[in-house]
């Protein structure tokens, strides 16, 4: 099975972008690709324990998805780590801005990393931004 390196940067807090990022992460991970996800800006608050709420749709498609049985993006990110070997990291800058600590985040997230480490890890592969 051929595998590739997929580095996914998620900065949006919109439903459509979080959903697409989660789909790429989960499908890539279960297909044997080396997936790394970096959560920052408006995306990170959705991964603080107890947040619960889904993200607001940014357009008509997102509003259509809300009434359908689409796997929730948090569940897909979690499956990316459980069924594949995806690594999901919170951005250390975003953690500082939110005054969040590692234990405040969903347990399938790794330790916070900075952009320098994310970019170093991404070398030689493709970076997708949502």
């Amino acid at each position: 099975m051929s595998s590739s390196k997929i580095s996914i940067m998620v900065v949006s807090g919109s439903l459509e972008r979080l959903q697409m990022a989660a789909m790429v992460a989960s499908i890539g991970a279960v297909s044997g690709d080396q997936v790394t996800v970096f959560l920052s800006m408006n995306a990170l608050p959705y991964f603080i324990k107890g947040h619960g709420a889904t993200a607001p749709a940014e357009g008509e498609f997102g509003r259509s998805m809300e009434g359908k049985n689409v796997p929730p993006f948090r569940e897909l990110f979690q499956k990316a780590t459980e069924y594949g070997d995806a690594k999901i990291y919170p951005c250390s800058m975003a953690m500082d801005v939110l005054s969040a600590r590692g234990e405040d985040l969903e347990p399938y997230l790794g330790e916070p990393i900075g952009l320098t480490k994310f970019l170093t890890n991404a070398e030689g592969g493709q970076i997708l931004t949502f």
Partner: protein
């Protein structure tokens, strides 16, 4: 003795059916047959693609009424 398992993923959208299949694939034994029921048209193309990529065996797909029956075998 290989077992046959039916997975009902009807009315879930991509990538729900594939994730359901993988959930059961992890629990299955080598040689077991899994039959995925799906109403999601995209999964009919995507599931064989995944099966081929990870190296399991695609047995076949058929549409009965509005439901796709996608049969695969765990090979490893």
């Amino acid at each position: 003795m290989p077992e046959n398992k039916v997975i009902d993923a009807r009315n879930t959208f991509c990538p729900g059916p594939l994730m359901e299949l993988i959930t059961y694939m992890k629990q299955a034994s080598v040689g077991d047959t899994l039959e995925l029921l799906s109403t999601d048209q995209g999964s009919v193309a995507d599931v064989p693609e995944w099966i081929n990529k990870v190296g399991h065996e695609m047995i076949g797909s058929e549409k009965v009424g509005e439901v796709w029956h996608i049969k695969v075998r765990k090979t490893k």
